[in-house]
């Protein structure tokens, strides 16, 4: 099922929509005019709430509800766009910026108006050097057209927008670590509460939303809540840009209404077009490296928050990694936990030590040096991490090893027996 009209990947409907003039000629910044001239900020918060927009960065939290947490009458406020996309298998923010940057910029401006923020920062991962320059160029275009700066479109609303590049740290995608990083510190998560909406950047009320989330705002404002809710499911309205990668013929970003099956995403010729060399699907990691794994016999599952949760996994960032039967499960777990070990910020012991030991044990198992009790040791390590880490990074590191041990125990036993 192909979308007849894309909400985010509008470049597929309007060629070259990255171009400012083309964007303007196809309803670009119309939503901003509507928002500023017809709505009070609180109306827009309600609209986004009614639309059922859920945060696309991983948690799926209702965006309008998040906005509603801001304490009344406390200023200044900040809007932060989380563009620290760094989790294996997740790459749609990057492409939204490359191919439809003005929809993001427009979404940030409308959202800033809705939450009454006068400064917005796009926190881009350090590696997004070119994407940062794309956004800076688009921002300069928006300033020149009067969509940014003082008294935007005569509304009396002022907004400045800046791109702030991180410098290579996945943890900075965690919203409180992002704020610390933007404050010029090392990126480590903060204790919550207080939540960012109450005490965020510089201790001020702050809203942090993902790139894809913010890019959904202009279409909602322009075409309305009912239209938006006509896409997707009751609880997951709208579409999701799924990032598909691994051993599929056509990896890429595919915008689909929530609820399309994993099978369709992988095998439909319009999307993944099946597995390379028609090999069997062995492991699917459906929501970025943090998501518990699925196996080849679970492909009928609809891709929405509720269905994946009831299958024991999660939609997460929508980054779908598909691996075929040539990979070894202990090796995939090793590589994924190596990622989390590398990115652990070191603040809490369960994550810092836990990821270190997981990788150390998995390394020796995968290199022919397994110890006889390594399997119980691995179970012991992740159980000590589970529920005890300061933030979700450490909790996420549990998922690959726990999944691998649960789904493919015989492969670990095989490695233990290999020791000569």
């Amino acid at each position: 099922m192909v979308l007849t009209e894309h909400i985010i990947q509008r470049e597929l409907d309007v060629p070259n929509i990255a171009n400012f003039d083309v964007y303007l000629a196809h309803h670009g910044y119309e939503a901003l005019r509507i928002a500023l001239s017809q709505y009070q900020p609180a109306d827009l918060v309600k609209m986004v709430k009614d639309a059922g927009l859920r945060g696309r960065g991983g948690a799926g939290f209702p965006t309008g509800v998040k906005w509603g947490f801001l304490p009344a009458g406390v200023y200044p406020r900040y809007l932060l766009c989380n563009c620290d996309e760094s989790e294996p298998g997740t790459f749609n923010n990057h492409q939204i910026i490359d191919l439809n940057p003005h929809q993001l910029i427009e979404g940030i401006i409308i959202s800033s108006y809705a939450i009454e923020a006068n400064k917005a920062y796009i926190y881009a991962r350090g590696e997004f050097g070119a994407a940062a320059r794309t956004m800076e160029h688009a921002i300069a275009q928006a300033y020149a057209a009067g969509f940014l700066g003082k008294n935007i479109l005569g509304s009396g609303f002022d907004l400045d927008m800046y791109v702030h590049r991180g410098a290579g740290a996945y943890i900075c995608g965690e919203e409180t670590a992002l704020m610390d990083s933007l404050e010029g510190k090392i990126g480590q998560p903060r204790l919550k509460p207080p939540f960012p909406a109450v005490a965020g950047l510089y201790g001020k009320p702050t809203i942090i939303n993902n790139v894809e989330t913010l890019a959904n705002v202009p279409p909602i404002v322009r075409k309305g809540v009912d239209w938006y809710r006509s896409h997707g499911t009751e609880k997951s309205p709208g579409t999701k840009v799924f990032s598909l990668c691994g051993h599929v013929r056509k990896p890429g970003n595919y915008e689909l209404p929530f609820g399309v099956s994993l099978l369709d995403l992988i095998y439909d010729p319009a999307y993944g077009d099946g597995m390379i060399a028609d090999r069997a699907v062995k492991i699917v990691v459906p929501g970025g490296a943090s998501a518990p794994w699925l196996t080849g016999d679970q492909l009928n599952i609809p891709l929405d928050y509720e269905s994946l949760a009831s299958a024991g996994s999660m939609l997460g960032s929508g980054g779908v990694i598909v691996l075929n039967d040539t990979v070894s499960a202990p090796h995939v777990a090793y590589k994924m936990d190596e990622f989390f070990k590398h990115e652990s910020c070191g603040k809490c012991t369960p994550c810092r030590e836990g990821t270190h030991w997981l990788v150390r044990v998995l390394h020796r198992m995968n290199h022919g040096h397994a110890e006889t009790d390594d399997i119980p040791v691995l179970h012991d390590i992740y159980r000590q991490m589970e529920g005890n880490c300061f933030c979700l990074l450490g909790e996420s590191a549990v998922m690959p090893i726990k999944s691998a041990l649960k789904l493919f125990p015989e492969e670990f036993e095989g490695l233990t027996h290999m020791k000569g």
Binding site: A18, E136, Q141, A145, T326
Partner: protein
């Protein structure tokens, strides 16, 4: 001293933030590009510019992977070895780079041109294996394509292009069907002239990014195979 040579840039960076400490990361990038890598003196300069304890800035440098407190040469080649890149040829690309350059990972080539590192996910998994050269993306790299990659990077050294290990001039690249590395053009269009009535409202000329980007856009339309030199 940065304060003398980059005064305008420093001022523009500081103007973005309500608290000067937020300028640590951008100023470290600026120092890194100015000196080639972050020497102790460069780090101290940033600390002094922001009136911060030096340990606070050294801590930041050691925390983030894109700050180099060791010489990195002209091109830092960062190869993603994560899932899925590692199952689609990243290890072979790493081996080919090391073999062609005659170095181990993390070892600078004797001519000071290349440093090869393995890094974690670069968020372009659909074009695996992915490599960054000074944060320029190079998509769909294979061991067979490594020679062409090195040739294009050597050519850019020879062209006198201003290289930035911090990504200040970053662009995205891919392999053309004919096999050569080519820049992926972005098509944002020009920055329009501000409307007359807004002349005193949004002083775009003061936006640090817009001036740099104006130059870049010109380069982009000129160059496909080569990144033209920018002063950004």
């Amino acid at each position: 001293m940065l304060q003398e040579t980059c005064a305008a840039q420093i001022e523009a960076i500081l103007a973005r933030y309500d608290h000067p400490r937020s300028a640590v990361l951008p100023l470290l990038y600026l120092a890194q590009d100015t000196y080639g890598y972050l020497t102790n003196e460069a780090i101290l300069e940033v600390a002094n510019l922001l009136n911060l304890p030096q340990t606070d800035v050294f801590e930041v440098v050691s925390f983030y992977t894109l700050f180099y407190d060791y010489p990195v040469g002209k091109w830092v080649l960062q190869v993603c070895d994560d899932v899925p890149c590692c199952y689609l040829g990243a290890e072979e690309v790493l081996a080919a780079l090391a073999q062609k350059l005659g170095v181990r990972e993390d070892q600078l080539t004797p001519d000071g041109h290349f440093l090869v590192q393995r890094v974690k996910c670069l968020a372009a998994c659909h074009r695996a294996p992915v490599v960054q050269a000074n944060l320029d993306y190079i998509y769909d790299v294979t061991p067979e394509r490594v020679d062409e990659l090195l040739r294009s990077l050597r050519e850019r050294i020879g062209s006198g292009e201003v290289l930035s290990v911090s990504g200040a001039t970053a662009e995205d690249y891919e392999y053309a069907p004919a096999g050569h590395v080519r820049m992926i053009e972005r098509r944002l269009g020009d920055i329009p002239a501000p409307p007359a009535h807004a002349a005193n409202a949004a002083p775009v000329a003061d936006e640090p990014a817009s001036q740099v980007e104006t130059d870049v856009e010109t380069d982009r339309t000129n160059g496909v195979d080569h990144a033209a030199g920018t002063s950004g």
